[in-house]
Amino acid sequence: MLTDLDPVFLARLQFTFTVAFHILFPAFTIGLASWLAVVEWRLLRTGDKIYEEVYRMWVKIFAVTFGMGVVSGIVLSFQFGTNWSVFSDRTGNVLGPLLGYEVLTAFFLEASFLGIMLFGWDRVSRKMHFASTVIVAFGTLLSAFWILSANSWMQTPQGYEIGEAGILYPTDWLEIIFNPSFPYRLVHMVTAAYLTTAFVVGGVGAYYLFRKQHVRHARVMMGMAMIMAVFVAPAQILFGDFHGLNSFEYQPAKVAAMEGLWETKKGAPMVLFAWPDQAAETNRYAVEIPKVSSLILTHDWEGEVRGLKEWPADERPPVAVVFWSFRIMVGLGVLMALTGLFAIFLFFRKKLFDTRWFQVWCMALTPAGFIAVVAGWFVTEVGRQPWVVYGLIRTAEAASPVGAEQIAPSLAAFIVVYLFIFGAGTYYILRLIAKGPQTEDEVFGTHGVDKPPIFSDMASEKGGDHV
C-alpha cells in the first residue's frame, strides 16, 4: 500500500510540515531577542525594576521557544540530504558554504550566549549579561541573513555555471549571496518576525490590562508593542509591495498565481476573491476590481501583466494555495496596520491602556504574526513550484532515492512528535503567561526551577496579583 504513494509528494509534505513548524519559532525568537535587548537596555538606563520583571518573565518564554526552534532546526539541516539528495548533490557547491557560514557565524554565537542569558544572571556582571542578550539578538539576525540568502538564491539563482552531471559551480560569490530577491526577502522576513513578536507581547499586555492584572508591566508590554504596530506594520506593507514588485520582475508566474490572473492583459484586474480552478484554467466566483493589478504591479492603469497561460501547464505553481495564502497574509497585514491607527487614535485621546474593545482586539490578534508568516512562506515557496531552484532544477527530480515505505512512517512520526511537543510547549508558555511577571519578593527560581513548596504555596495564595 505504502509503495503506491508518490515518494516525492510525501517528501514535499514532510519538508513543508517540518519547515512550517520550525519557522514559527525563529519568527518569534528573532523579534523576542531584539525586544529583550531593548528591555534590558531600559533596565540599565533607568534602573526601574519593572523592566527586570518584564525581562525575567519573557526570557523564560524565550527559552522554551528557542529550545523548540533549535531541535526542529537540526532536523532541517539533515533533511536536505535524507530527502533531497539530488538537490544537495547538484547545489552543494553553491548553497553549502552559505549554510556553513550560518553555523559558523550565528549558531554557535546564539547557543553559547543563550546559556549566559538564561542562567548567568548572578554569574556575570550586569553589563556582560546585557551584552549576552545583545549578542543572542545579533546572532538570530545573522542566522536569518544566511538562511534567507540561501533561500533567495533558490528563488532567483545567479552567479553559477552548470557543469557535468548537472552539478552547479559558483562563478561569483557576491552575485550568489546578494541575489536579486535577497534584500527584499530579508527585510520583509525580519520585519515580519518583529511584528509577530510585537503582537504576541501586545496581546499578552492587553490580556493583563483586560483582567486588571500586572498593570504596570502590561503598560510596558502594550506600549512598546503599539510603537511597533504604529510604525512598523505600515512599513511592512510597503516592504511587502517592494518584494512583490521584485517577484514580478524575476518570478512573474508566481505573481500571476498570487493575483489569480490566467490571461495576459493590459489593464489587468485585481481579483479580490475567487476559486482558482487549475484544470479549467480559470477562476470561479471571481470578484474583481478592474485595472488595479496593473496599477499596483506596473504603476500604470494600462500596464501589461502576464497571465498563467503564458507558461506551459507543467511550469505553473498550484494556483489556489498561492492565491489564498497571499490573501491571508495581506489581510492580516492590513489588520495589523489598522491596529496601529487605532492605537494612535486612542493614544491621543489618552485611552490607549483602558479601552476594553481594543484590548479584546489585541488579544484576538496575538497569533496574527505566526499565521501571516506561515502564509507568506507558502506564497513564496509554493509559488516557486514546480521548481526547487527556479528555472533550473525541478522539485520532482531533486528527491532522494528513498521510497514511500520509508518516508510515510517518518512523516507520521514527525507529525505525532511535533504535535505532542508543540502542545506541551504551548501549554508551558501559556502557563508562564498566566503566572505573569514575578515581583521582587516572589522571584525565586527565575528560570522556573522549582521553588521550595512553602514559596509556591504562598505565591498561589497571593494569586500572583500585586498591582
Binding site: I74, S77, L104, F108, F119, A424
Partner: protein, 339 residues
Amino acid sequence: MFDFAGFLDLPLIWYGLIAIAIILYVILDGFGLGMGLLFPFAPTDQCRDRMMNSIAPVWDSNETWLVLGGGGLFAAFPLAYSVLMPALYIPIIIMLLGIIFRGVSFEFRFKAQGRSRKIWDTTFHVGSLTAALMQGMIIGAYVQGFEVEGRHFAGGAFDWLNAYSVMTGVAVVCGYALLGATWLVMKTDGETQEWARKSAAYVMWYVAVFMGLVSVSMPMMNPDIRALWFSYPNYLMLMPVPLLTAILFFVLWFDLQKDREIRPFVLSIGIFLLGYLGIGISLWPWLVPFAISIRDAAAAPTSQSLLLVGIAIMLPVMLAYIGYSYYVFRGKVSHEPYY
C-alpha cells in the same frame, strides 16, 4: 573566482576539519547524552537536578557541533552528504526524533512541576538513549561500507541494520555513559560524585570490551584494513594506538579507585580520541566506505576555499567564547537553580 587549490590540499584540510567537528560533537554531546543515559539510575531527585544543571547552559552549543559536522559535510563534500543521508535515512530520522525529545526536556522539565516533571525525566532518558544508540549504529553501518551506483546510494532501506551495527550501537551507549559519569565526577561532589564514580568504574569495563571487539572485527571483515594494520612496517608505527588505549584504561581504573576528580574525564576523552583515530586510520581514504574517496567527494575548490576563510576567522573566535561560557559555569554544580 578565488581558490586556494594551488597551494593547499583542500580536500585533506576539509576532511580534517569535519573529522574535528564530529569528534568534538561526540565528546561534548557525548557527556551530555551520557547524562541522559545515567539519569534514571541516579540515587535521588537532587542528584538528577544537579545532573541537569551541569549541562543545561552548554548543551545547546555542544549540539551545534553536530550541525557543523552535517552542514560542513554538505558544504565541503556534497556528494558524500547526498549518498550517506539517504543510505542512513531511518537511523538518522530516529536519531533526530531522539534529539528532539531530549532537547526540549531541558526547558520543559524546568517549567514542569509535580508529576508532569516525570514525563520530561523519561523523555530526557529515552531521547538520549535513542540518539546515542542510533549514532552508534550509524558508525557500525558506516564502517561496513555502502552500495553506490554513480552518484547515488543503491542499497536497501535496512542495509544499516545488522548484528554488527547493534553491537556498535550498544558500544557507543556505554562510551557515552562513561563520558557522562566521569564528567559528573568532575562537576559534582558528595553523594552524586560517589555514585558517578561507581558508575564510571562499572561501565568502563564494557567500553573496554566493546573497543576490543571493534578493533578485532574491523580487520577481520575487511582484507584492506587487515593489510593496513598488520603489515610491516605499518605494524610498528600503528602499535602505539592500541597500546596507549590500554594504558589509558589502566590509569582510568586506578583513578576511579582514588579521589581523582578531573583526570578520569580527561582519560575518557583520550580513550574516545584513540578509538576515533583507529577508525579513521582504518577507513582512510574513504569518505563513503568503500565507494567514494575524499577527493572524489570534494566540493568545487572555490566552495571549499570560501568556507575555509570563514573557518579560519571564526573558529578561534568561537573557541574563545565557547571557552568563556564554560568558564562562567565553572566549578562544582549544585542542585539549586542558577539564579
